[in-house]
Subunit: 459 residues, 2 copies
């Protein structure tokens, strides 16, 4: 018995017409009539699920009619033209064998469940159409990211997750320890002989590899112990952090734009059925939004220019809850205005006030700004943050001193500026925030298999 | 100025002959003669590095002669036939511009350093030929793994790293907490409202996705707080854990064999220069070993049969430090004998004594063994461990009771057997152990960018 997947069935639908095939998967819905029945069948390899039709000539007809939603089955039958839709495969069953039963109290009944309820049964939700779409997009997008970088000669680097550095994100990190809870033992008695925490970024280690391989990227988990219960915050999430040697801020923007469009394009090509479903599920506009991104060119403005635009808008009657101010951070409403009202395109905002940005960013000649860039996207806000790195030893050290970051502890990072340093730049993108953009699903809890948020670490 | 990478230079070497190109990278070695000089140049995108030749017609000849090893430079020059080797590009320099200087106390001088010394300067070692080879193989192998699974319809799943489960690996886990060191606070006051630790596997969560997508894989970091200072143990490492629905132990072995050969084949195709270097560096035999794997078929024996073979060998005079015994684990020397002396091929040993294997493995009818399988590889030992999973509810619950694993806490895992369960199997492979096999480098510390081991969490 040669089993094929529903993906193979769909891909070879024309040539399989009239042939007998065997499929293995699950019953999503089961409608019964007196002498026949219809099974919505899925095996998770394809979003376009076949319908299995059986009649009372099939052996064990009564047992088959008794099959529950959720059960695992092996179906053998003939591929026949579908009366519904030529692209949806239909199987005229010759045999249906129960592989694993499912009781009637199965929580996933064929009706619309709320996403809140589905979060409570997160171990079953991948079987729903919504999460079949979301988690396949997640997988396809992850692969698209790897393919993008590998095709362009970037080396994939696994930066460490457990770290002894506390240069970034102090106060928002998880402690990692093997000391018993409440132990008064000295950190020197801990597993690593010192205090350690979960990394909030792989960038600094990534830079050490960019100074050897020119183009590298990381793609791994990152952790923030932020007590934020919002739709966009999770304590554990995945990040992509490319770092490119001999690359300045302008070139970085070119790369960011090309990268984002390439990922969107690949997902649109590989997941058309999933996106169509998500477009409908999330109220429409998803596909138009993604197509809009592909056809637009990202605008580029300095932070000062952006503030000027916002202030002029305010003078002309646009109401903002927060006043846009030179030298200060922008709010979500400002990002929305810039992308959706003013430019009608994604916008790179660069040359940010140095006081609200990180120590490692290149200090511009004005003494006030750094060569940082945020990419703002219509319908999403900020999706990528990058910068040209400060490569001048005395400038970097000066900034570290100002901010009280230990040059001694970070000697290896500082030394990259002593030992053959060069202009280099990189950006970071939170993978889940990209997925929120790609799927239209608006809560980070629904684009991660098992979300970790304050007071929540289930499964 | 259009800059090309050394990879592009090598790929287009024939068509670029006689053309002027610009490269950016670093000086690995610099040999000077009276009226000319030779620079071993690298940018990390290609293992086959060009040689840059300059003479005293180049502007700033004296400054160029003073360039230090380790410096970053921009080189423009004509591609000329190499007198050394037709495949190694040579550049006749027209200009060489210093991008970033490197002092004479640069630790990486052009001589052979010990791997122990290089571990101390792990932030610089990616610039050496050894680690250029190792970390490119790492990146290429990671991509080969993604490509293998994605091409075959597997969905990539990010299982959580922070977990509240302690079903597996109790006692060997790192605690994750935001409570201050020494705090007597109740775990309910911790970030997640309960005790949490770093995951030792993603398999159990992976199974929940296999029951929805049929074929899934994980590829992410895993943690063990084992106080083992050996060449093969690290506290943080990457694991690949595929899980396949409607797949039994025999089919799993087919997949494992196909998978391993595919990865080896891809790395051999994509990294010929790196492997040639590593073969020489590690004393020879690496490429022959990998070729041997590709041309062999994996033998398949039960654990009982394996012990019989080993005991017969012992009776015939083979000396083992540990006596091979029925019902017990095998030692490295036994694995070596089976693969290198007896079968001369990789060997699947299956049907292991249940008492030395995990609770979730399928219990065979003999009441003594489980459908587990280890793949032993010549020159490496065990590289993959897998099993058919116990899918019968009462058998699984019985085993959990015997081992004191809470069915209540793991209700979601148990429920997979209630809600449309089916025969399914999966395996786990430590990525670094694969890399030890692929590179011939024998210490796990040298195949991870920044190794975490007891008392060591630097960079």
């Amino acid at each position: 018995m040669d089993v094929i997947t529903t993906r193979e069935l769909k891909e070879q639908l024309a040539s399989l017409q009239g042939q007998s095939v065997t499929l293995q998967g699950w019953i999503r819905n089961h409608r019964k009539q007196k002498n026949m029945g219809f099974i919505d069948f899925f095996d998770g390899t394809c979003f376009r699920n076949p319908q299995v039709v059986y009649d009372n000539n099939v052996p064990g007809f009564d047992d088959i009619q008794a099959l529950h939603v959720g059960s695992a089955v092996t179906v053998t039958g003939k591929v026949v033209p579908s009366y519904k839709d030529p692209e949806t495969p239909e199987i005229q069953a010759e045999s249906i064998v129960l592989e694993g039963d499912c009781p009637e109290d199965y929580p996933l009944q064929p009706k619309r469940h709320t996403v809140e309820f589905l979060r409570e049964i997160a171990y079953l939700r991948p079987r729903t159409r919504l999460f079949q779409a979301v988690f396949r997009v997640r997988s396809v997008a992850a692969m698209a990211i790897h393919t993008y970088f590998q095709d362009r000669g970037y080396v994939y680097v696994h930066t460490p997750l457990i770290t002894g550095n506390d240069a970034e994100g102090a106060g928002n990190t998880f402690t990692v320890t093997t000391l018993p809870a409440g132990s008064k033992a000295d950190p020197s008695e801990d597993f690593f002989g010192k205090p350690t925490s979960l990394a909030v970024t792989g960038q600094l280690e990534g830079e050490t590899f960019a100074m050897a391989f020119s183009k590298i990227y990381t793609f791994g988990p990152t952790f923030r112990a932020e007590n934020s219960n919002t739709k966009t915050h999770a304590a554990e999430f995945w990040m992509i952090e490319p770092e490119i040697a001999f690359c300045d801020l302008d070139q970085l923007m070119d790369i960011e734009e090309d990268f984002l469009k390439a990922i969107v394009k690949t997902v649109m090509e590989k997941c058309p059925d999933e996106l169509k479903f998500l477009d409908q599920f999330t109220g429409g506009g998803l596909i138009a939004k993604l197509e809009g991104l592909l056809s637009s060119t990202c605008a580029r403005v300095t932070h000062d220019e952006a503030i000027s635009i916002l202030r002029k808008a305010m003078e002309n009657g646009t109401e903002f809850k927060f006043e846009p101010k030179f030298g200060e951070d922008t709010a979500k409403e400002h990002e929305k205005y810039l992308t959706e009202e003013y430019f009608h395109s994604p916008v790179f905002v660069y040359d940010w006030p140095k006081d609200i940005k990180a120590f490692y960013m290149y200090q511009n000649d004005d003494g006030k700004t750094v060569s940082a860039v945020d990419l703002l996207v219509p319908g999403a806000g900020e999706r990528m943050g990058g910068s040209q790195r400060e490569t001048r030893l005395e400038k970097l050290e000066g900034r570290m001193d100002e901010l009280g970051i230990s040059k001694e502890e970070m000697y290896w990072y500082v030394n990259l500026r002593r030992f053959g340093g060069c202009t280099h730049s990189g950006f970071g993108m939170g993978f889940e925030r990209l997925l929120i953009y790609l799927t239209g699903v608006d809560n980070i809890r629904d684009v991660i298999p098992y979300a970790r948020t304050p007071q929540n670490c289930e499964f």
